[in-house]
Amino acid sequence: MSKRKQNLVGYLFALPWFIGFSVFLAYPLVASIYFSFCDYSVLKKPVFIGLDNYRELFADEVFWITVKNTAIYAAISLPAGMVMALGLAMLLNAKVPGTTFFRTVFFLPSLVPMVSLAVLWLWILNGEHGVLNEVLRMVGIRGPNWLGDPAWSKPALVVLGVWGVGNAVLIYLAGLQDVPTSLVEAAELDGASPWQKTRHVTIPMISPVILFNLIMGIIGTLQVFTVPYVMFPGGSPARSTYFYAMYLFDNAFLYNKMGYASALAWVIFAIILVLTGIQFLLARKWVHYEAGR
């Protein structure tokens, strides 16, 4: 087959994907940039209003509340989730009987659909009849009203987020199994303690995996939506669980302010882009690739 023909066939094979990508991703993406400069409600034609949406946004009190809530949630839930996932992965990597069983068990919660998970936790965290507070009562502690008290609603969500670390555990586990035993053995021969082996051999060796989980975690926590949307309608109590993606959704589909919602979407995109960029810059200092750089 001639080179040209080969190319043609290649393009033809890629065509369905390309059509799908342009229609369902590229066009909406570009259109939403334009809409973010418009007064647009989906039903009415977009009217160009320049930077008005962005100007309004930065003066919008609720926008800042959602930014703050999202930042706090990410700042607590991301490190907690990462430490938990790494710790679990290390335990599951131990060569003891029954690890395959436990690997499955820890992964199971990740298979539960988000909405069912939220409904389940509504019952666990219920202030009056919740399982968690019943258990606390047995040991003499009067548990808080997790869902109704603004001071406890975000911690409740963090606990819930940790419950879904199964995916990250799996990725860490794969990374851990790639750590060459020769290096660990060499460290052992040099008299390294278990902590030293972890700190100086294992963690550097899996640092690319940590970076990956970190970036995915940033993206995931900054866009947290489904669980709080189901559990805390309207970001109740008193907007303590009103997150960025919820405000975006409400503006787009409840208030029909699609232009404003597009502006919100591009702002969060810019924030995530910057944070990811910073991670890549910092990564030069602590991420080690086997091929070396």
């Binding site: 009217v47 309207g234 029909n256």
Partner: protein
């Protein structure tokens, strides 16, 4: 690799595309001979959905020109809006009266003035509060399907238990608060077990308390009045409950309530003795706790405002014809049937609601199972019957009021602070909304 195999996959996709295109053509082909089929999206499920289905069946049997296809659609207002913007709306959609203003401002709905004139339907046929709910900016945009009013529902057995006369329900807000306090029971840990009344239960009309104190949420033109003295007074009364009982105690107590439509409902499970509820409450009581001893009365008014007696929230489910509907004339035929006395009484009897029409048959009263139906019906005719504010930004305004309600419930803000904040936030939004609406109208007029 042979030539055929090279082209197999792209060829396959071409076939798929061609099939999709062809099937679209077939579907879009003109209607086959026979009755005109119109689609009708409705939100109700359960017995309320069955009631509507009965009316649709009756209509389909009553003539052979039009066939209505009823489809149950959740979140119907959003889906109708999206389908309308995509140019493929249903011919009739059943939304809430509270959605009408937003739909009109978004040009999502056809005016019904000409159809109504032809059919001889006018304001004299309806109780004013419901007619008001379907008109906006001087035109008719919808007609009611089923309406509702609200009243105080109280548990007579619980009243008797604390020595109150069940035949003498509270008439003033002050009496209501006093009786409510007498009914509160706590356990040895101080946790609330039973409450007399909580303004946050069921939490559907958190925005409406101001009306019971003579307040308004806007001036009907361009001013937000959330922080008017009447509204502040209402929220002060709302806040008096968490102040007396403890905000966390109330929160925790409320978190133990089950869903509205369940035997664990606070009123049905005798956790709260008095609630503001609608005409539909009777159905749920007979479904989940038929032995409950209860009665209904007009919601109390402030002692110093006897003019506010018989204040009620009157809302309706309404039928609209979305812009772009393929068969508006046939759609209206159906809406007209629903709004005939026969159609309306079938529907309202089966949904156990009051009738929005002024002309109600004796049979309707006789057959209606709700023992308080005349109360709910007369409340609809009360001069103090209020509907949802007809504001295009209502969804956002009510979310803001809900938040203020929560803040005062947790004692994080005083009523004045909370309502000042709502006003300060919503006034610029209303200004901007009205300005953009005007600009659009000018642009459309000049085109």
């Amino acid at each position: 690799m042979n030539r055929l195999a090279d082209l197999a996959l792209p060829g396959f996709f071409l076939v798929v595309l061609a099939t999709v295109w062809a099937s679209e053509r077939v579907v879009r082909e003109d209607q086959p001979p026979g009755p005109v089929r119109i689609t009708y999206w409705e939100k109700w499920t359960g017995f309320e959905g069955e009631a509507m289905r009965k009316v649709v069946d009756d209509f389909n049997k009553s003539q052979n020109r039009i066939f209505v296809q009823l489809l149950t659609v959740s979140n119907v207002q959003n889906k109708t809006m999206l389908a309308t913007s995509a140019g493929i709306p249903p011919d009739v959609a059943g939304i809430f009266s509270a959605n009408v203003a937003q739909f009109v401002d978004d040009r999502a709905v056809l005016p019904l003035d000409d159809f109504c004139r032809e059919a001889g339907i006018g304001p004299e046929d309806y109780k004013p509060v419901y007619w008001n709910a379907v008109t906006y900016r001087g035109r008719i945009w919808a007609l009611p399907s089923t309406p509702a009013t609200t009243a105080l529902h109280f548990n007579t057995a619980m009243m008797r238990r604390v020595g109150l006369d069940p035949n003498r329900p509270p008439r003033t807000i002050e009496e209501l608060s006093e009786m409510a306090d007498r009914m509160v029971q706590r356990d040895k840990d101080g946790r609330i077990r039973v409450a007399g009344f909580l303004p946050a239960e069921p939490g559907w009309w958190n925005w409406a308390w101001g009306y019971f104190f003579g307040g308004e949420l806007w001036d009907g033109k361009d001013r937000i009045t959330a922080n008017s003295p009447e509204n502040v007074r209402a929220f002060e009364w709302v806040q008096s409950f968490p102040k007396k009982y403890g905000p966390n105690e109330v929160q925790t107590f409320r978190s133990g309530f089950g869903n509205f439509s369940s035997p664990q409902n606070a009123f049905m499970s005798e956790k709260v003795a008095m609630v503001l509820q609608g005409v539909w409450m009777y159905n749920f009581i007979s479904m989940y706790n038929p032995k409950l001893q209860w009665a209904a009365a007009p919601f109390p008014h402030p002692a110093d405002r006897p003019d506010l007696a018989r204040t009620t929230i009157a809302e309706a489910d309404v039928l609209i014809i979305p812009r772009g509907a393929k068969h508006p004339r046939e759609a209206f035929e159906f809406i007209r049937y629903v709004n005939s006395r026969k159609g309306m009484e079938t529907l309202c009897l089966l949904q156990r609601k009051n009738s929005p029409l002024t002309d109600v048959s004796e049979e309707f009263w006789r057959e209606h199972p709700n023992p308080y139906i005349r109360l709910f019906d007369s409340l609809a005719a009360s001069p103090n019957a209020v509907g949802t504010p007809k504001l295009g930004i209502w969804a956002e305004y009510s979310a803001e009021l809900n938040n203020a309600f929560e803040e005062i419930g947790l004692l994080r803000k005083t009523p004045k602070e909370a309502l000042d904040a709502v006003t300060a936030r919503m006034q610029p939004k209303l200004d901007q909304y009205l300005k953009r609406l005007r600009l659009r109208e000018q642009a459309e007029a000049s085109r």
